[in-house]
Symmetry: C2
Subunit: 344 residues, 2 copies
Amino acid sequence: MNLKNDLLLRTLRGEKTERTPVWMMRQAGRYLPEYRALRGKYSFFERVENPELATEITIQPIDSIGVDAAILFSDILVIPRAMGLEVQLIENEGPLLPHPIKTADDLKRICVPDVLDRLHYVMSAIRLIKKTLDGRVPLIGFAGAPWTILCYMVQGKGSKTFDEAKAFCYRQPELAEKLLQMITDTSIAYLKEQVSAGADAIQLFDSWGGLLSKPDFEQLSLKYMRQIVEELKGETEIILFAKGSWYALKEMKQTGASGLGIDWCIEPHMARSLAGPDITLQGNFDPAKLLAPSARIKEEVKQMLQAFGKGRHIANLGHGILPNVPVDHARIFVDTVKEQSSLL
Amino acid sequence: MNLKNDLLLRTLRGEKTERTPVWMMRQAGRYLPEYRALRGKYSFFERVENPELATEITIQPIDSIGVDAAILFSDILVIPRAMGLEVQLIENEGPLLPHPIKTADDLKRICVPDVLDRLHYVMSAIRLIKKTLDGRVPLIGFAGAPWTILCYMVQGKGSKTFDEAKAFCYRQPELAEKLLQMITDTSIAYLKEQVSAGADAIQLFDSWGGLLSKPDFEQLSLKYMRQIVEELKGETEIILFAKGSWYALKEMKQTGASGLGIDWCIEPHMARSLAGPDITLQGNFDPAKLLAPSARIKEEVKQMLQAFGKGRHIANLGHGILPNVPVDHARIFVDTVKEQSSLL
């Protein structure tokens, strides 16, 4: 099916576009009243595992905010769950994995699963979303980067430092390698199926990459993201988003990814000089700035667009949209990108 | 009184030293059994406000680990408390300010206090620590950077994003400026008294600087740290540590500070190239790496020392030592710096 709006894909391929495409991480989320309504009725995994609900949620921000891409409503922790680890998602608190991986014995409790069997509901959702979108905008599929998934599988819950996950890797490097490879193999199979089901592009989220030093990032994160890009890049466009890992932009570019997400703590010109000219950058509005008055949002979006310049830029936040952002402010962000980027 | 070990001060002044000085952020903390023993007996503010207890705790890591500097045992939140805001410190949970600043009316509840009156216990502690240290090592005094203090005064508790603190600054910029200036004025008076009481150097902790974009960091943080350095730099050596704010190293250097703290997410050569040659860098071992086996700690400390090179370096962690670090591993860190840096 032909896309009516393919700005995102053309930008990822480095082609000329009439304006900058825009979407927002967590755009299908709690700031939307129509999402909160479903959240009151269904548990998190009900919303994720029911293709009709996932479709409805995925499409909400397309209708409501007018973004240029849909992103699959799901969670990065479907992977540890499919690998055999119990994952609970406690509303307003975050994930809890009551039996985390600590030893070689623990590793025997998990496997590289048949993703079509364990994650069939994701592919059903993708097919239904594509059908419902009817070519309005492309659909982005996603997975967590292996390092970020390991963080949860080992630490068992959110953490400011993920020191237990790091200690696991430092103390049992062979075990860590084995676990990271299992996550990687699962993710490759999973993402290939997402593409087969209809995902037009893929984003890898390395939410906790920025907790690592550059040498550790190379060894514990990038090594595995590189394998994923290698396996996927002939089939789709891939965006790598390693929050805080500005120091590895050059190396991430060299994986062959089409785009790199950046957060607001690196200036666009610095990111460009580190990543080089031949790659699309995505970002980097401070999510908290959507809490500012609307005139300031408009002004700063304009500044951001000018800083990135024409082409090779996907406008986005530097992290997920916050639940307390007024819907109007999200719209102002999107509308200002659309208006101002056509003037660049 | 002459210092028997003035490695830290000479390094901050850019003088030649026989080896690299070493201390650790939060070195007087929970990883030490002798600290945990006092923690079981006295509440946090008892430990902070009793000069004998603060002295005992400050000196514990000098005796136990052999670091080259003592740092005053206190807390950055003594400042909001002295300004008239209630601060609770809940063990294992963090700070709680039950009546945070949200409006212009709230600002009337606080003031720039007479620091000698409200924080006399800190100066008493400093005098007693200096007397007890008897010149063994220098004593570092400290305060939180105004931005980080505002974060707690407005958000009222710890946060991953401090979005309410940011929203306050974006929505009420004049109020934010007024509050930041009140914190700055209080901090200047406070730090001058610390120096008068005997502190040999001062560190400003901007724990949440790294949540800001570069333009916001300039406006909400650096502008006020600059005033503090300006007022103090004739009287003492000042180290600025803005965790995550690698992008402003050059501008922080230009304040006239003697040293800049860096975390492990920036490589030493990159920090040096951003900050320039004429300033001491402090850091930047990943605190979680002290959970690694001892051979790996030794190897990586050696690599860190080589990366910083000879001179103009104070060995430290890139953030506070974690409570679950074995005391032996903290000793290995310190001992390896001492041994290996003399070979540089």
